[in-house]
Structures are given as C-alpha cells and as structure tokens.
C-alpha cells in the first residue's frame, strides 16, 4: 500500500485536531502535540486508484513554524490547511502559511478546509473571499468538526491528488 506523510496545519484554535479526531486511528494522546509539537495519526483512504495510508502529522500552533526551520517539515507529500469560518484572521494565516510552505519546499498539493460549516450564520469569512482563492487554483472544502461534514471528502481529495501519476 502506498503511504504518504501529510501535514495538518492552521492558526491556533481553528479545531484541526477535533476535525480529524473521529476519522483517524490514533494511539497517542493530545499531550504529545503540546510537548513534542506534533502528534501522529493514521488514516487509510480508499481511492479509485487503490488504498493509500496517510500518516497525518498534526502540528501544534503554526506561529512557531513561521520563521523557524522545523525539522518536522521534511518529506511531507501534502498539506491540509485549516481555517475557521468564524475567524477572518485564520484565513489570512492559512494564506500566509501556504506561501511559506511553497517558499520552503516548493509546490506541494494542499487543500484548504474551512471549518465550522455548522455555524454559517456566524461566519466572518465571505463567499467572495473563498472565490478569490478558488480562482487562484485553491481547492476548498467546507467542513464541520461537529457534524463530520466534508472530512471524508477532504481525505479522499487529498489522497487522490497524492497518487503517483502513472
């Protein structure tokens, strides 16, 4: 089975970890993330091309990452950028992060997950904001940690884009 290392990144408190918690196999507690700065989960995704094993490196708050050359960032094949629909600033963070990643390791497939889709009334991020990014070629999925909406789709989309082109 093909395996890939992917990152899960986003601004502080956008709900990254709880977003995937129900969908992945996990043996390490949340404590690892706060002490080591990273926690690793596993998810097997079945795609039309076959099964893929994703090792998800859930990085703690991105603030340290910007400006620091973290060893963790070696060898990742894809990235989930997570933003919080109710916090406009988290989207700016995600955009900055993406730029930073592109500078550091070149083009890596990534997917923007805009979380808290169950609270659209309280959203600060406007559809127009997302349309702008979409026109720049960003793939965006609206997700909800509460209902699980969009999470499986996100895994499937990223895994599909990671399959080695034959």
């Amino acid at each position: 089975m093909i395996q890939k290392k992917i990152w899960l990144m986003g601004a502080y408190a956008v709900g990254k970890t709880s977003l995937v918690a129900r969908f992945v196999r996990s043996i390490f507690s949340e404590k690892y993330r706060t002490t080591l700065g990273v926690k690793i989960d596993k998810k097997v995704v079945v795609t039309p091309q076959g099964e893929m094993k994703l090792m998800i490196w859930d990085l703690s708050g991105e603030d340290d990452f910007i400006g620091a050359d973290l060893e963790y960032t070696r060898g990742a094949a894809g990235v989930f950028l997570v933003a919080d629909g109710t916090q406009r600033s988290s989207l700016d963070r995600a955009v900055a992060l993406q730029q930073r990643i592109a500078e550091r390791i070149g083009p890596v497939p990534f997917l923007l997950l805009v979380n808290k889709a169950d609270l659209t009334d309280a959203w600060e991020i406007q559809n127009t904001d997302l349309e702008v990014l979409s026109q720049r070629g960003w793939h965006i999925i609206r997700t909800s940690a509460k209902t699980g909406q969009g999470v499986e789709a996100a895994f499937l989309a990223l895994a599909t884009s990671l399959f080695p082109s034959s």
Partner: protein, 624 residues
C-alpha cells in the same frame, strides 16, 4: 621598436605595408608580448589553469598522479615548518571522531566488565528458588524472567525523511502498538531533539524507559530503530549498522525513488529479523572460581612486584656501590626474609582457600539436599562469626533438616538453622497432610493429580462423604476425586441381597411351614440379620418382602388367603430364629406372579420367595 613607431610619410613601401598588414602586425606584437613577457604569461596561464585542471580531472587520474608527489612533499614541508597550521586545519574533523571512538570503546569495556561481575558473583539462585516456590511458577520461568539480559523485541526500518515505516519485524508475543504510528512518532522525536539542540550529527541514538531501551541508528535515507528489553551489549550497535548498510546497498534504487511504496522493502525483512535476538545471563550454580582466584592472583602479583624491585635494586648497587658488600648481604638477608614471609603468607592463604573450598562444597551439597526435600526451602545461607546460618521455611510435615545437615559432614557446632513454619505446596507434602487430616482406612490410597486429591481403594460411604467435605479445606487441594473408592458396605449389602433373594421355601398343599426347611430358615435368618445390621449401621433402611405363592388350581380368593398364610408362616419361622419382625413384610400373591412357569414344575409354585431391598440414606448428605 621600429614597428611601433608611426610609419614615416616618406617611405611608400612602409606605407603600403602599413595599409596591407597593419592590424595583423599589431596582433603579432601583442602575441609576442604575451609569449615573451613573464608577467603577462603568468596572468594568461592563471586564467586558464583552473579550467584546465577541471578538464583534466574529468578525463582521467593523470593529473592527480603527477600532482601527488608535489602535494605530499608540500605537506611534509608545511609540517616541518610549522605543524600547528595543519593541526588547526585537521583538528575540527579528527577531534569528534576520536572522541566518539574513545567513548564507544569505553562504553563497550564498562558493559563487558559489568556483565562479567554480574555473572560470576551472582547469589540470586536461592532467592529465585524461593520465589518460584512462593509464586507457584516453575523455577525455569523465574530464572528466565530474572536473567534476561536483553531481548530485541521489535525492529523498525523507517524512511528518515518522511518517517514512514518501510519494514518491521518483531518477536512472537511482543507488545505491539501500531507500527506505522510508532515509526512516525520516533521520527518526530528525533526531529524534535534536532530542533531543540540545533545540533548536526548522528542525532538521537537511544532512549530508555524502565526496562525498555530504544536504539536508533541512521544512515542518509534510513533510520533503524530497535526496541530492546533489558540492556543490550554495545556491539549490538554494530549489528544494527551492518544491517543498515546491507539494506542501503540492496535497496539503493528503491530508496532514491521512494514515493511512499514500502513493498520493495519487504525483502529487507530477513535482515531485520537477524537483529531480533535474546540473550540470557549465564548463571553458574556453584561459587565462582573468581572468588578465590582473585586473591591468589593478587598475592602472586605482589610477589612478582617484589622480585622486580629486588632485581632492580641489585643491579643498581652492583654498578654504583661495588664495595658495600656487607650492606648488600644485609639487604639480601632482608629480602630473603621478606620472600620467605611472603611464601608463608601464600601457603597460609592457599591452606585457607583449600579449607574454605571444601567447606563451600559441603555447604552447597547440604543446601542441595535441603532444597531437594519436599516442604523445605532454604531462603538464605550466611556466615556470621564463623558460624554458618541456614534460614528458610519448613512445613511441619517435612523431613527433619537437622538430620540432613548432620549428614552433610559440616561440623555440628559450626551450623545453625532457623526455620519458619509454612504450608508447602509440594505434592508429597500435600498428600501427607491430606492423610493426616482425612484419616483414610488402610484400604484407601491417596495421590495428587494436579490440584485434585484422588482416593482409590475400598472405604465406607460415610468416610467418602466426610473426606469430601473436608478435603478442599486442605492447603493445596482444589478438588477431591473419590470415583476410584468402592463403598464396602454397599458391596456387602448387594451380596447379601443376592443371597437372600436366591432362597425359596417349597410348601406342600397347606400353609404349614415345611419341617425340612427348618434348617434353611435358621441359615436365612442369620443372613437377613447381617443384611439388616449392615444397612442400619451405614444409615440405610433395609426391608425384606416375604412373598407367598400358590398354583393356579382353585379359586383366586382362596389362593390369595393361602399364599398370604404361607408367607406369614415363613415370617413366624424367621422371627423365631431371631430376625427383627419389623424388617419383614408378608405378602400373598396367589398365582399372579408364579416363580416357575414351566407346566412340569407347576407344583413348585407352592412356595415362598424373598425380595431384599435397602434405601440409600447416608447420614450426612454431602454437598455434592
């Protein structure tokens, strides 16, 4: 210099020449300057030299070969002139390499020293034996768990850059978590250390958690992680490095193109499995020879030192103080005395050693014999003020330890033993204890099968019931099996029943008791009395039905009366012979249940028959 001068106006030839080849002449002058002027030539060569060297190196090794002698002599010259220059250059490379080599060598030495000490001086044996008795585990199990030096339980081959698991091997029954996530986390920890210390180099090489060690070896693309229970010797690292090298060589192509497909690395699994090992501590049962060889060696060492110093002293004096013969002789005498004293010391020591070796052997033999006794466990042997103390546990039913100690040859005054009472769970002791508690009749044999006490032979049901009620309260007995015990009373009753039921009294026409059966009646009375007594003694109720019969001649009502009368006359005869009347019930059945069905024998149906029965009613019903 005339070429450089401006052409004269008056020389038409010169003018023509200038017109035809003027530029070429200038080029020619420039070229000549480059070729002839040394500084120009140097500048020109310096421009093309680097390129030329690069070009030459890419073709073949000729340039290196021709330069080598020059460079070598240049280095020699440099060292001769001022060694510090080269030292400064080389130091940053060689320093860490030497440090690491020395550290490795030290670590190996300390480890092997530790192991030697631990193996040769261990006195854990008794404790383990006691622990085995106490916990009910086999001695071998305890020794295994206590002497496991190390076991390499899991080996992970990890892609260094991504932390993805390439291959994994483990021993059977190893505690396993998700290997993929473990390898990711190991990589994360390594990354974390590298980030935290901002240090280049080999990185994290081992971590420890309780009994567990994780050893890490890395190459350019790979990390090999071994989960080790206990402490592995330092040379296991070499094994890991060899494994990494082999895998790197064999899987080089797959490593360079790694896209997340671990399948090719399945081939590396045998290499990983070679890394799984178990090492048990060697344990010698006897006292280590090191215990007495060490002091002996020490003594010899002292002697040798003395000898050496003595020779040195003589030589010096012969050379420097030839005339002081007297002093030398004194010195000789002194040294001889010293040597003799040393010799005496050595002999004494040897004698002491010999005596102590004999005594050690006696102690060991005594200990072995004590521990071989069921119900005796020696927990400690110590020596205080010249007295040997045996301390341990003793079941009250075990053999007398004093007798064993006395038989071992150890002097009676030199040994003391201290015993605490305990319930031994040795089968022989359990059986002894059961025999004491259950008091089986001599016809019963007891044995232990697992934790079940098995009784075989003949005994009364009462004993079986009693034993059943009490057996499980005996330490070491979990169940009682009396299926092999025959109830003697029951056998007796069945035999008597058969005997009684075999008797038939034949009558003539009437109901008078036949006089010729008188003798039989007395015999039967004795049998019935025995039957009855045995039954009531074992708590059973016995009963005998005396049935009168008639032929089918005559009316039914008459025949019933007649048959009843016959039965009653037999009862009367038996009671007269001493049978308890309440045990007998006379019944008349006329011709309804003839004993003889053959018409030729029909006359014999004028008779009385017996049915003997007893009820099972043990006095103390057993719980099960």
């Amino acid at each position: 210099m005339s070429e450089d001068e401006p052409p004269g106006d008056g020389d038409p030839m010169e003018q023509l020449r200038e017109l035809l080849v003027g530029p070429e002449r200038k080029d020619l002058a420039d070229l000549r300057r480059i070729v002839t002027d040394p500084s120009e030539k140097t500048r020109e060569i310096s421009r093309i030299l680097p390129h030329a060297i690069r070009l030459s190196s890419s073709h073949d090794a000729q340039l290196s070969q021709s330069l080598a002698p020059t460079i070598e002599s240049a280095l020699k010259e440099s060292v001769k002139k001022d060694p510090s220059v080269l030292t400064d250059v080389v130091f940053p490379i060689i320093g860490p390499a030497i440090r690491r080599a020395i550290a490795d060598a030290f670590s190996k030495m300390v480890q092997s020293l530790n192991q030697t000490m631990e193996h040769s001086l261990s006195v854990q044996g008794f404790k383990w034996r006691f622990e085995a008795k106490r916990t009910g585990k086999s001695f071998a199990e305890i020794v295994m768990s206590r002497t496991l030096v190390y076991r390499v339980e899991q080996v992970f081959l990890i892609h260094k850059e991504t932390g993805l698991l390439l291959a994994h091997a483990e021993v059977p029954n190893a505690p396993t978590q998700d290997a993929d996530m473990i390898s990711g986390m190991l990589t994360a920890i390594q990354d974390f250390m590298r980030d935290a210390f901002k240090a280049e180099g080999a990185g994290l090489r081992s971590t420890q958690y309780g009994d567990y060690n994780v050893w890490l070896e890395t190459s350019r693309h790979l990390t090999l992680a071994a989960f080790i229970r206990g402490t592995a010797p330092e040379d296991f690292r070499t094994t890991m490095q060899d494994a990494l090298e082999r895998i790197t060589i064999e899987q080089g192509a797959a490593l360079v193109d790694f896209q997340g497909d671990a399948a090719p690395f399945e081939e590396a699994r045998p290499v990983l499995e070679d890394c799984l090992r178990v090492q048990l501590a060697e344990r010698s049962g006897k006292t280590s020879p090191l215990l007495w060889i060490a002091p002996l060696l020490l003594v010899l060492g002292f002697a040798a030192l003395w000898e050496w110093r003595y020779i040195r002293g003589v030589e010096k004096r012969v050379a420097e103080e030839r005339l002081q013969v007297e002093a030398e002789q004194k010195r000789h005498a002194y040294h001889r005395e010293q040597r003799e004293a040393q010799q005496r010391l050595r002999e004494d020591e040897a004698r002491r050693q010999e005596a102590s070796v004999v005594e050690e052997a006696q102690i060991a033999k005594c200990l072995q014999q004590l521990n071989a006794q069921p119900g005796l466990v020696v927990t400690d042997v110590s020596r205080r003020d010249g007295v040997i103390h045996f301390t341990g546990l003793r079941d009250a039913l075990a053999s007398d330890p004093q007798a064993i100690i006395a038989a071992s040859g150890l002097a009676a005054g030199k040994v003391q033993s201290h015993w605490e009472n305990y319930y031994a769970l040795h089968p022989a002791i359990i059986v002894k204890r059961a025999a004491q508690r259950l008091a089986p009749p001599p016809t019963v044999a007891l044995a232990l099968r697992g934790e079940t006490l098995v009784a075989t032979g003949g005994a009364s049901a009462k004993w079986v019931a009693d034993a059943r009620a009490r057996a499980e309260a005996i330490p070491g007995v979990a169940a009682f099996d009396a299926s092999g015990v025959v109830d003697e009373t029951l056998a007796f009753l069945l035999a008597k029943k058969k005997e009684i039921e075999g008797v038939t009294f034949l009558f003539q026409d009437g109901s008078d008791f036949p006089p010729d059966e008188q003798e039989n009646a007395r015999g039967l009375a004795a049998v019935i009395t025995a039957f009855h007594t045995a039954a009531s003694k074992s708590g059973r109720r016995a009963h005998i039905i005396v049935t009168g019969h008639t032929t089918d001649v005559g009316g039914e009502a008459f025949n019933l009366k007649l048959s009843r009368a016959r039965a009653e006359s037999v009862v009367a005869a038996l009671v007269a012979s001493g049978v308890d009347a309440t045990a007998l019930t006379p019944v008349g059945v006329a011709a309804r249940a003839p004993k003889f069905t053959d018409p030729a024998d029909s006359a014999k149906n004028r008779c009385v028959t017996f049915t003997a029965d007893f009820e099972e009613a043990p006095p103390n019903p057993a719980p099960r």
